[in-house]
Symmetry: C2
Subunit: 345 residues, 2 copies
Amino acid sequence: MPASKTSKKLSIRDIGRELGISITTVSFILNGKAKEKRISEALTEKVLKFVEEVNFKPNMMAQGLRTGKSKIICLMVEDISNNLLFAQVARLIEEEAHNKGYRIIYCSTDNKKEKALELIRLFRDRSIDGYIITPPEGIENEVQSLINEGIPVVLIDRNLPKLKCSHVVIENLNSTNEAINHLIANGFKNIAFVTLDSEQTQMADRLGGYEKALSDHGLKPYIKKLGFHESPEQNIREIVSFLGENKNIDAVFFATNYIGVWGLQAIKILNLRIPDDIAVISFDDQDLFKFYSPSITVVAQPVPDISNHIIKLMLNALEEKDTGVHEIVLPAKLIVRESSSLKNT
Amino acid sequence: MPASKTSKKLSIRDIGRELGISITTVSFILNGKAKEKRISEALTEKVLKFVEEVNFKPNMMAQGLRTGKSKIICLMVEDISNNLLFAQVARLIEEEAHNKGYRIIYCSTDNKKEKALELIRLFRDRSIDGYIITPPEGIENEVQSLINEGIPVVLIDRNLPKLKCSHVVIENLNSTNEAINHLIANGFKNIAFVTLDSEQTQMADRLGGYEKALSDHGLKPYIKKLGFHESPEQNIREIVSFLGENKNIDAVFFATNYIGVWGLQAIKILNLRIPDDIAVISFDDQDLFKFYSPSITVVAQPVPDISNHIIKLMLNALEEKDTGVHEIVLPAKLIVRESSSLKNT
DNA sequence: GAAAAATGCTAAATCGATTTAGCGATATTA
DNA sequence: TAATATCGCTAAATCGATTTAGCATTTTTC
């Protein structure tokens, strides 16, 4: 096929002129209102055929100006590059959005309240039809004001409990609980939990699952909280000293994938063998955990399922098929690998 | 701060009415044309102050309709989730784009010609100001027609040599050549090259760098080409049989990061020790290679540098500061790790 | 056969900005 | 002092769609 001619862009007006009809009629037909507006079938078909022939595409700016809708969804994540989870979600929601005529812009908050507020302010009043957000703590008011304006918001990965807002999260408490119970069942007794210094729901729930398992079995907790905004090097050092100071720890749960990566480095530095010296489980699956020696047991999130729910909630809200508040909680899956195998006692 | 009042959105007309001046004046001032249009300083300041006070933001749809510019850049990559490289680029170009008032939509081609054409057709005539593309083979005509329409295009990761089009790539030939020479210098003699069945420039150049090194040293090439659209499992099987059938191979270069991951699995399946039985180098760095046992030598791309060039080229073209064709070729870096250490002869 | 209803279509207002052409008042020039 | 230039600002057209209100015809109703 040759490169298309650099003809001027067609407008609905051109279509009308060519066919000798009004732009109103063309508009009605293109918007599927032919029946409703009693346009004859003959004309309807003629117009559709012509539009197809000349490959006319309505100008989105004009449509947007008139209707107030941009057909743009904002995907606001912690960091699209830092956590494969978010890139995967981005990939999976993309196609469905395009199918429905929506485009997706992305931005990264770095999990910072200020950055998130800045971004919401940057985009609000700029005709974004809907927001998919991994909310940092403290942006409740801004999110609420989006909701107040009738703009669909879907929170993902974590929730803002003070708000009545649709969200898609996983069973953080249960899945972590299951993972810790698996360690306990395998004979580990001094189980540490390395997490972030964060009150976000997903982190709080994971900690809750850990604490429940320990108290159910009368075990002593070892909890280490890291700073999200510290450098990886600093956090690795923190894990090294934590594990170094608590030499009786025989298993450790890392509450996110990147903490898991830091943790593995710390364990390497300490020259500990997995699982003989220390058993390991991490949240979130990724290649590194699959192929590490030994392979690492993980709590894996059902990414395709999560993504489907996200985009379905968003599209239903945008098309006003279902604007209700939905709280989707999906199960996560413990994938047992070598790093948590039965302890020799 | 309380949630903002759900007041109606302000328009330039409201500003004019409030201040008792025409919308023309407001528009001139907001567009920085106050001087040029001889608006008095007093009025200019008054307007700017008021606009700031009421937090007025012009309607992008209206602006877009009038100016024909959407302030949207399309980032079209192979797969935003499959290759961390692309997610990292996405992250790094995002901020700079926002600073200049641009938003970024993304889409994934799966490296398929048809998908890419479909996406370009989906977005063209939909007011996208510029395209950043990792082009699959065979979309030359479509890209050319974008260029013909004066829409800025920056190709990344690979080039379309038939086109005069700005691009940002790395020194694939030299860097691969250096990596192979490193293997040769370390005593490896039967060096295999596992790549894709693809004519794309980056893959061709990597192969070229391999072939040059081998012919420079009079060594015999062992080349295996995999199908990009085969399943990982199938490709792993392919590598297993390839290495199995050529038992004299003592080193292998994997031409992309995901091939590297497949390759490591194949080597595990074959129960070969790295580097004693087989030395390994992969293109592209990532956690898995850093922390693998043994750690994997890689050719690392300078991602921040790449991203800076991409967004700078794009913004300069969009702002018509520099609409010329620029061919940026950046050096990649060989990071020597355990997997390619000196062969004991 | 006249009034009412249905049919098939359109004129014109509107969304909110940008931009061209130009108006009245004052200042400068000759 | 009359012609011209400058100053400071504005009216109105325009971008390309959607949508309300309504206009001729034709058909139905009684």
